[in-house]
Subunit: 347 residues, 2 copies
């Protein structure tokens, strides 16, 4: 029997993490009698005076959210990272009990004053305003901090505790694990091939046409060959861009379009607000601003948990946590599903 990637089990290598993934396409027909997620809340009101993210509402610390009319950024009232604080000693350290200092800051970005609109419901200019805010924050926080992580947890299933459309920024004095590992692998590739890995990757995906979800003049959305989550995607620029702040106005506009289409496609798959965590990675900042980082290509990642329906997710549990990530649905099938979805969200 000839090997057929759509049917036969195999491992795939993730060159960004130097890790393998187990793909088990034959298992896709497994019945599911396990946990079904609670249904999403009913329609969110446009304005809720009790929601601290709404214009005019009162925050946990007593401050009043101004009557903003575009994006609005404020410090996270319960930050995981503080700008100041005593540092752990690390002289004569035991290799089994190592600690290091961590400094940073956490902010919240509201996308829009209305609680009941998301990216697909905004005008293109309003989405560009969100992108501009992301860039402004990356530049501002990047002056001081090594890593500025912009991320959004969408939906209660992804730990989001506030229905108002917003994302977060956690900026840190240290390079966190994920970008640290990526930095190493991107650097190795660049040294070997003299081209940025992710640009090579984008070009090859454009040729292969097997995992493309969407593309326009400047952007490519693919389900990566090594995708871990069922409908995981990556947003890649078609030309090398190191950081968010290197985008030109035209690339910003087409990125705004890309995000609107991608979210609409996600929402159309199971006719719901598709939950996910998403975020951006680009060349590190802080002290890294001083040297060129040609191995780094700016890109976005969408990590959505749903597998079979609006309420049945992929569980990353026993085997995944203790041994290795595993998926049933192939990246190619997931890409085909997303590709075929309309570019406008169901009403």
């Amino acid at each position: 029997m000839a090997f057929n990637r759509d049917e036969h089990q195999h491992l795939r290598f993730n060159p960004l993490k130097a890790e393998w993934l187990l793909v088990s396409p034959h298992r896709a027909l497994r019945p599911w009698s396990g946990q079904v997620e609670p249904p999403a809340p009913d329609r969110v009101p446009r304005h809720d005076p009790a929601n601290p993210l709404c214009p005019g509402a009162v925050r946990a610390n007593g401050k009043i959210t101004p009557r903003y009319d575009s994006t609005y950024v404020f410090p996270n009232d319960f930050p995981a990272l503080l700008e100041e604080g005593p540092e752990p000693p690390h002289s004569e350290e035991d290799p089994l009990f190592r600690a290091r200092a961590a400094k940073g800051t956490c902010r919240v970005i509201c996308y829009h004053p209305h609680s009941d609109v998301y990216l697909t419901g905004l005008t293109l200019a309003e989405v560009v305003a969100v992108i501009d805010e992301w860039i402004k924050q990356t530049v501002e926080l990047g002056k001081k901090y090594t890593w500025v992580q912009i991320f959004e947890n969408r939906g209660a299933m992804m730990g989001c505790s506030n229905p108002h459309p917003h994302c977060q920024i956690w900026a840190s004095s240290f390079l966190p694990n994920e970008p640290r590992i990526k930095d190493t692998n991107l650097r190795d590739y660049y040294q070997k091939h003299q081209t940025p890995m992710l640009i090579d990757y984008a070009n090859k995906e454009i040729q292969k046409k097997e995992r493309i979800v969407y593309e326009n003049e400047h952007w490519l959305v693919v389900v990566p060959y090594w995708a871990l989550w069922p409908f995981e995607t990556m947003v890649l620029p078609k030309k090398q861009v190191e950081r968010f702040q290197d985008l030109n106005p035209c690339q910003k506009t087409t990125l705004a379009q890309t995000l609107q289409v991608l979210v609409a496609k996600y929402d159309n798959v199971f006719k719901c607000n598709f939950p996910y965590s998403m975020g951006w990675h680009g060349a590190p900042t802080g002290q890294f601003l001083d040297e060129p980082q040609p191995h780094w290509t700016f890109h976005g990642m969408y990590l959505p948990p749903l597998l079979r329906s609006a309420s049945v997710r992929k569980f990353m549990v026993g085997y995944e946590l203790l041994a290795q990530a595993q998926r049933d649905l192939t990246p190619e099938k997931a890409a085909a599903v997303l590709r075929e979805m309309p570019e406008k969200r169901f009403a």
Copy 2:
């Protein structure tokens, strides 16, 4: 101000993964208005003829589960790994599209014929029978396979789709990521120090007494210094043991005691069946059986998601997936909570 690990943010190093963790104790008082997990199902009936794991029931493939009276092992009807199948070609491979062969087998182990008892409700001899089955499987599958992963997903929150007490074994022809990384780090430590890392670690935790949850003659349960999940624990032998099959009868009996106490403590924290994924790691098998593996110490891991109550979990989402693991509750506080819980489960 002096640094105080119970109050001030810091990073901790996990020497098994060579990764850092962000600890933010100041954030522990954050209010929670996010997703609350669906309540656990009501009492499970002792015997459900429609449940394929119950004695006498019919499985998905039409086979009948025998009327077993101790443990019972059968092949997973929807295995992620098959013993045979065509292999992907890997000549002239593109570094961005690498695939490898994966072979393996998946089994299910029922702990006991009754659906309504768990480890805490079994006799000590019955728990020893489960341990004996784990060992038997490790030996049998380890002859052919490089890695035999025994794991249990407990509770619907951890993707468990069947309430009958059981665990799984996925054996593979490859060394999965997690044990592969562990192997490298354990080996490096052994080469430097000439002692197994986890035995050194256990001895130091016994001296420090800061993270101990439970100990007896042969076993130590700690919340590791680098624990990622709020109430994560590690079960460590006090004397070097490379693999499950190297335990003597006495170590098996005290391990059975340890597991009963640990589960009782977990269940007592929030007065519920505490969900978790758990599993065992020891020296690799297959071709690795031929060489000594003195750097490997057999150990167990419990990875439970709950944080604040039976229905509020820690979400490993945006920042954790894209940047770095983060926790609010310190490992020392979690250990104190578990340590103080009674050793018998609430009735």
